[in-house]
Amino acid sequence: MSQDKRLRIFFTGVGGQGTLTATNLLARTALMCGLEVVAGEVHGMAQRGGVVESVLLLGGWKSPKLDHGEADLLLGFEPLETLRAVPYLRQGGIVFSNSDMLPPLSVSLGVSHYPDLDSIKSEVQKVASQCTFLPCRELGTKAGSVQSGNTVLLAAACANGVLPISLEMLAKGITTFLPEKLHASNLEALRLAEAYLKA
């Protein structure tokens, strides 16, 4: 892959959502596609109950972490976290985000305010050349499990063409790398994402 096909992806979500599992699925699928892959994640105390961030670099990048302004693609598994991660996106980068919210404790307790989705979208659009919000939890639940909502986001990015990974390869990644009992719901999530984007 030539240098101009190098791609840096930033993943962000909330502990327990399966952000790292999704990162790993996409990374292994990318390796299966013959791409050069480096991924980075943070484990341990940094993760417990908090924001989970990971990165995936394709095509020969070596750094296992990203700085602000470096991501070509931002995959946000929760809208507030998408907003928080916007500084990582390069000007003109692409964003796919879940639109279903998981309010943090301070919001649940009425101490702080969760920004409304429209203001999140307009903030993201200031930096992104394209941004797409999908109801991942809703589509995932429809597909058979909340967690398969993460596949909705991966599928949307693959369908868009920004990733050098086709939907067919993602489907192959799902059946190769996920436990068998998760195949049906994740393949269904992939179809639902495709249908949602065409609608």
């Binding site: 390796l31 892959v37 994640e41 109950g49 990048w61 302004g69 507030l80 500084p87």
Partner: protein, 620 residues
Amino acid sequence: MGKHPLLNETRGEKQLLLGNEAIVRGALEAGVNIITCYPGTPSSEVVDTFRRIGGEGRYKMEYSINEKVAMEVACGAALAGAMSLVTMKHVGLNVAADPLFTTAYTGLPGGLVVLSADDPGCHSSQNEQDNRGYARMAHLPCFEPASAEEARAMTRAAFTLARDLQQPVLLRTTTRISHMRGAVTFHSLPKPSEAVPFEREPMRFVPLPAVARKRHAAVNNIMLRAQEIADQSPFNVETSHTETKLGIIASGVARDYLADALISGGWTDKVDLLELGMTWPLPEKKLSSFLSRHSRILVLEEGDNLLERDVRALCQRIGCAVSIEGKDEILTDMGEYSRSLIMQRLAKWFSCPCPLNPTPTPRTDLPGRPPNLCPGCSHRSVYYAARQVFGDDAIYSSDIGCYTLGVVPPMRMADFLFCMGSSISGGSGFSEVSEKTVVSFIGDSTFFHSGMTGLANAVFNKHKLLLVILDNGTTAMTGHQPNPGMLQESLGEGCTHLDIEQIVRAFGVDQCKKVSSYNVRGLIKALTEFKDMPGIRVLIAQEPCVLYARRTLGKRQPNVAEVVEQNEDTRRCLKELACPAFYKKGEDVAVDQNLCSGCMVCLQVAPKSFKAVKREGGRA
């Protein structure tokens, strides 16, 4: 269950591995015989992976009770001829330093590799010490991988070197390397190593002063041999593109950021590189040649300026007048390096504008997600009870584990902390000179790690201390590794359960009570009784970690809490217990059934406000 992919014998197979998994593969390829550890982020996945893959009888492994013990067990095995690996996080090596410094004198015929996983940036640690310093101080050859593939290859090479030289070898990673994923190409998987037969040699292995003095000379000679090996090492690579007089010397993760920075800046052909993977002893011949062929040198290393200092000293020694730069106000000894920091540093060194676009300032007004004790965490109720009894009158001496999060309001149950086990001994010292009651909190794994010695000391020296042992039956924070306090049925046949209460009583503590962590009234009663007593008082608050109970023990409470009355007590419970399962619905308090663990502590805090109801279908 089939063979784990890490045990695949096919040479040339390519897999995407975590840096720590690549270390496991490298150790298997070297023929490792025994692995010991104390878990600690970012090192834990190494030994957890050895445990998960089973190994088909290839190796023995253990979770030791602390790093010193892990080191001694591994040293003993290496002395008996086994190829041995001991793993720990950076601060663990402080605990294990004593045996390490002396076995580096005596040598270990079987071969010992010490994994130190450092944590620049303090992602989950109390300091960012740079353990490359130990290599210099203890006479240890050192490898620093910068990719998953190098983690495999260098681990394998570290074992070969450790056995050839009979010298302990340091394998030093950082968080980003341990927790990065990359493609790893497998080499063949031989049978485990043959043991090197032990030959009695007390004048080498018993370091009486006369022996130690001789061994100091011996280790110096071994390190001279190691230096020759470093000069030949395929991990110390020079890349010279042009006739440039600019040279960069880089090690560790800085090499990754440098590679990306050079491409991003279009600077690849502007500089020559000397990349170091075997970083101690320094490859002095290679370095001298590199230094003398350039007029300006930039040293890039995350952490302390060790390499920079040594390169400066080497220049002085060989009479080389090259200009050397390294740490400055851009690249400091604090935190992590990054591609953009290195780009800024290079631009300054090249005296050219930095081709980085300005980036938006992160918003600081967004609601955060700080780490918190889980809903149903058995520590929360203990902290609630302690705050009811002592309020701000006591001094709270905390320790290392999930329960350090008790520092977060409204609990505010941590006033100070040094290191593993310090809650007891540090608390003892504080109470010796303070009028205030000192309440120490320690977890079960940390108690076994180094709390027991502090307790023995407290009894022996007649300290006054109220100790609460937060016994959740597992090593929760690092991923539920076994410890001696774990139930026998969970430990299985390979380990023996040790009873904390029996240990405490055997130390001579008369005032010892055991209460369920979910029994709020019982906790308050015990603490109130202990409050004005003299001497050592120990409360063992026991209840399994809620995540461990659910995931591993398969226990899930059938009921959840529901708010039945909105009153002053309901609001007080929200404010003072602050369970993450609570949320506000307008002015009312409600319980999120998906988050509620069913611990029913809120029912005890505000009996009229809550009641137990059957859990609806809910999520798995």
